[in-house]
């Protein structure tokens, strides 16, 4: 699927937001029951960077996303996107969830248009044009009028991606977006997401359980420990782009990164007594 297409910027006349930086500084967060998830957590992402967060269950990924989206507030510490404090309605933020969360009563095209029509900055015709443009970017222009239940799981997730991209976010949060898909579809969507990212150039924070996926996609893989350990370690991925499923995944360097991350993850799981109890 690694077809080179003309850059999106030539088709879209609206100026795109430049990629955003993300800074999380000294975050503390505990639930009311006393369970501490973050204790002095910090994470910095550069504009345009593709960063994966990799971690076992119980590392606090869900809480991290809730904090990042402003749905929950940290007990202390600051979260800035482009040097502005984060809040849920921030137009700079885009989300792709683990399940597509499409509106089942709307067609694929109307789903992609949803955010544009909520924000009312464009006329109806411009909204539809833009929605069509992003739907074609994910290769779904032919099923624009289909309802979500008529689409496969992979297609639904593409619509969901197009819906987030249509708002031209400066920072895209992807929460295990392809975890529920089969391996073939997942590999295709990995490649396609990278192609869109290289065209659109936003910052991406990608949460995943999958080591291969993290290496294939990222500039940098951040391994999270069991809560409240925070960041366990980081690994910069120095593989040339554009990356392609077969060419990249067979590289010795790719396999080396994989071996290192596997031993890191096994380290994370086995150093934590409570975790090994939970997961045994």
């Amino acid at each position: 699927m690694a077809i080179q297409r003309s850059p999106a910027s030539t088709n879209s006349n609206a100026p795109r937001r430049p990629a955003a930086s993300l800074s999380m500084d000294d975050i503390n967060f505990s639930y009311a029951n006393g369970h501490t998830v973050f204790d002095g957590f910090s994470l910095h992402v550069e504009p345009g960077e593709f960063v994966s967060l990799l971690g076992p269950s119980g590392c606090g990924k869900t809480t991290l996303l809730n904090l990042l989206s402003g749905f929950q507030k940290p007990s202390s510490g600051t979260i800035h996107i482009n040097h502005q404090p984060v809040h849920p309605e921030m137009p700079e933020l885009g989300y792709v969830f683990q399940s597509p969360q499409l509106f089942p009563w709307l067609s694929a095209l109307e789903n992609v248009r949803f955010g544009l029509s909520m924000q009312k900055q464009l006329g109806v015709k411009e909204q539809l044009d833009k929605a069509r443009h992003y739907l074609s970017l994910v290769g779904l222009d032919k099923v624009a009028d289909k309802l979500p239940y008529q689409l496969s799981g992979g297609m639904q997730q593409r619509v969901s991606l197009a819906r987030a991209l249509a708002l031209e976010p400066a920072l895209l949060l992807m929460d295990e977006p392809f975890a529920a898909l089969d391996a073939i579809t997942r590999n295709n969507l990995n490649e396609e997401t990278l192609r869109l990212w290289s065209e659109l150039g936003q910052t991406v924070l990608f949460i995943t359980h999958d080591i291969d996926e993290a290496i294939f996609m990222s500039d940098r893989v951040v391994v999270l420990g069991i809560a409240p350990q925070g960041i366990h370690s980081e690994l910069a991925i120095d593989l040339t782009r554009p990356r392609a499923n077969i060419d990249t995944r067979k590289l010795t360097a790719f396999l080396d990164y994989r071996t290192r991350l596997m031993s890191t993850i096994s380290d994370v799981i086995h150093t934590d007594v409570t975790a090994s109890n939970i997961h045994s």
């Binding site: 989206s69 749905f71 849920p88 309605e89 137009p91 933020l93 885009g94 989300y95 969830f97 399940s99 969360q101 499409l102 509106f103 089942p104 009563w105 709307l106 949803f114 955010g115 909520m118 924000q119 309802l147 979500p148 239940y149 819906r163 708002l167």
Partner: protein, 250 residues
């Protein structure tokens, strides 16, 4: 297309009923259990002098009044109970209590309060329809997935936009199902209430037929009740519901 591909077993059920009726009726004198064609003659008589339409009109006006009132209140109660856990906890026991009481049991009381006539019947219909409708709508609202609401919020929708563009479209299948359930509950209660105290209407027609020993009139009333319920269910509500259900196919 071959005939067998079009054949639907449902086409046999009404002829079957008429044959069984006729067979049983043949064992009795016509003044006790008349034949279908006797009732058909009775229907022609009632239609010609206009009295069938008069009674039907009276019943339908009561039905519309009670059903409309119940719909408004049920949407209000059901939405609140769907959205607020506290309100749901508060209203659920009341709902179960009222659902357990046959609506027609209220008829004597509404007749004391409102007098014999339109409003006493409308109130019985209202009580019969409002609770099952409210429950259906409440369950519908509860089933709206938090994920859709959250997705809408991340796409920049404010609270009003979420109500308008998520809650309302997502609840239309349940609201239309509630309309169907409410109408049929209202219709049953209407007939029962009219039999207890009314001076016109299809229920009155049945009960009066019983009192004067006119089986033809009783059976004509029953057939009319069934016909109206069937027409509304199949021609109006099921189509409406189906129209708003297409996207729910999983």
């Amino acid at each position: 297309m071959r005939f067998s591909a079009k054949f639907h077993w449902g086409w046999l059920s009404l002829p079957f009923l008429l044959i069984v009726w006729s067979a049983i009726a043949s064992q009795y004198p016509a003044y006790i259990l008349p034949q279908p064609w006797d009732v058909a003659q009775e229907a022609v008589r009632w239609l010609k002098d206009g009295s069938l339409l008069l009674h039907l009109r009276a019943s339908l006006l009561e039905e519309i009044g009670g059903f409309a009132l119940a719909t408004v209140v049920a949407i209000l109660l059901g939405s609140l109970a769907g959205l607020s856990n506290n309100f749901r906890d508060f209203i659920s026991p009341l709902n179960s209590l009222f659902m357990a009481i046959p609506p027609v049991a209220w008829a004597p009381l509404t007749m004391i309060i409102f007098g014999l006539g339109y409003w006493s019947i409308v109130m019985v219909i209202f009580i019969a329809a409002v609770f099952p409708m409210a429950i259906t709508i409440q369950e519908g609202i509860q089933s709206i997935r938090g994920g859709e609401v959250r997705a809408a919020r991340t796409l920049g929708a404010d609270t009003w936009q979420i109500i308008l563009h998520v809650y309302i479209p997502a609840s239309l299948p349940f609201v239309t199902a509630a309309l169907r359930i409410g109408f049929s509950q209202a219709w049953r209660a209407l007939v029962a209430a009219e039999m207890i105290g009314a001076s016109k209407g299809i229920g009155w027609m049945v009960s009066m037929g019983g009192q004067i020993g006119n089986s033809n009139q009783v059976l004509l009333g029953i057939a009319t009740i069934g016909l109206i319920a069937w027409l509304m269910e199949n021609l109006a509500f099921k189509r409406l519901e189906k129209h708003y259900q297409t996207w729910r196919v999983q």
